[in-house]
Symmetry: none
Subunit: 124 residues, 4 copies
């Protein structure tokens, strides 16, 4: 992997987000074991404590659960995963809406713009 971090956001949150996306997109299946804290830390060249904090955060959100001595696993509760998906989507949507508003777009124009982009991507 070798991730690049955005200096504006806490690294642990970016690590959590990364796993959130892996889980939502199915690249990490329900019940699957996440890489160990130590492995992840070495791969990303960050302090293990930082990774640990990310895992704690994911556990707290019920997206993962940890078994002492065994590791951290993706939740098997599909509703939690669905909830996460919606939450991630909502975050992205909010950021987009803010951005478009700054550019002077009305709400209807945003919807139109999205539909147009969808059509364009299908064509190409």
């Amino acid at each position: 992997m070798s991730m690049q971090f955005d200096p504006n956001k806490a690294i642990y949150a970016q690590i959590a987000d990364y796993y959130y996306q892996q889980i939502c997109s199915g690249e990490l299946a329900p019940g699957e074991k996440l890489p160990s804290v130590r492995d992840t830390a070495q791969r990303l060249q960050v302090n293990p404590n930082t990774v640990s904090r990310a895992y704690l955060e994911m556990d707290r959100e019920k997206i993962t659960f940890s078994k002492r001595g065994q590791g951290t696993f993706v939740t098997m509760d599909m509703e939690d995963i669905q909830g996460l998906k919606k939450s991630l989507a909502a975050d992205q949507m909010q950021a987009l809406i803010k951005y478009m508003k700054r550019l002077g777009f009305s709400e209807d124009e945003m919807v139109d713009s999205l539909k147009r982009s969808l059509k364009e991507m299908k064509d190409s």
Copy 2:
């Protein structure tokens, strides 16, 4: 200001993007003078050449024009600015669509999600 740069994207491109947003949102009005290359460079703690390259890029896109010995100014052609707005919006939309697709959203669900987020933001 004191900007934070995303290490994944060229700095000069991020500087141009910053001014693009300022111009599209009207914070920099048509005909208004941009800060000088040297001022911007010092403020952002980057080399003047890097800023110069950003200005060159904006000039080339017809969003600004430079007068030797006087400075760099926002274009007075509103059509060029409108075109830029659309282009920036399309870029954001494409990024969003990619992200949502990875999460497993269908196209209709994306439109629904946008509408829901718009409503929520209005309510709060």
Copy 3:
């Protein structure tokens, strides 16, 4: 080669012009690889950055395209090359017209003069 540069024009622009002519005249075929930035720089005795800027300019005009780690290549889109030809020709024509006007030639006389020169060159 060992080019001589006109001090009135930016070196990078003259390098681009040189390649433009090579491409339009077919000495560099569509799809053919241009000499590397470093080679060109050494041959012309200029800084690699200056050559790089020329290549950037040509890329931006869609006359060449660059592949990271492989090199810079002539476009395979013949329409772009045709457009370049017309553009170069128009530039030369404009310069000529200005010059002839200063000498007091009327427009009809210019056309006559061109025809006469064409005939003379064919005869000799």
Copy 4:
């Protein structure tokens, strides 16, 4: 003035060309006195001998004549000036034709291109 010299051409020839243009365009009238060799040399930052050689060349071509102790003057023979005009024009035309041929233009296309450029310059 402060001229910039093309390193590919003899400086004295460029100086002569400069005066040729001045004379053909009427900026230097028939019978008018040219600046002294010494003045021209200082103004152009070249050796007086170089200027002298240019004046000699113009005298030889009957475009100017020199009176010992008085200076160099534009010829009053309008036919000589007309001949010079034609000669300068022919030189430019030949250079243009060579260039256009390299680009792959046919002779008819050259004439068309000239006519089109003339029309465009009138419109703008």
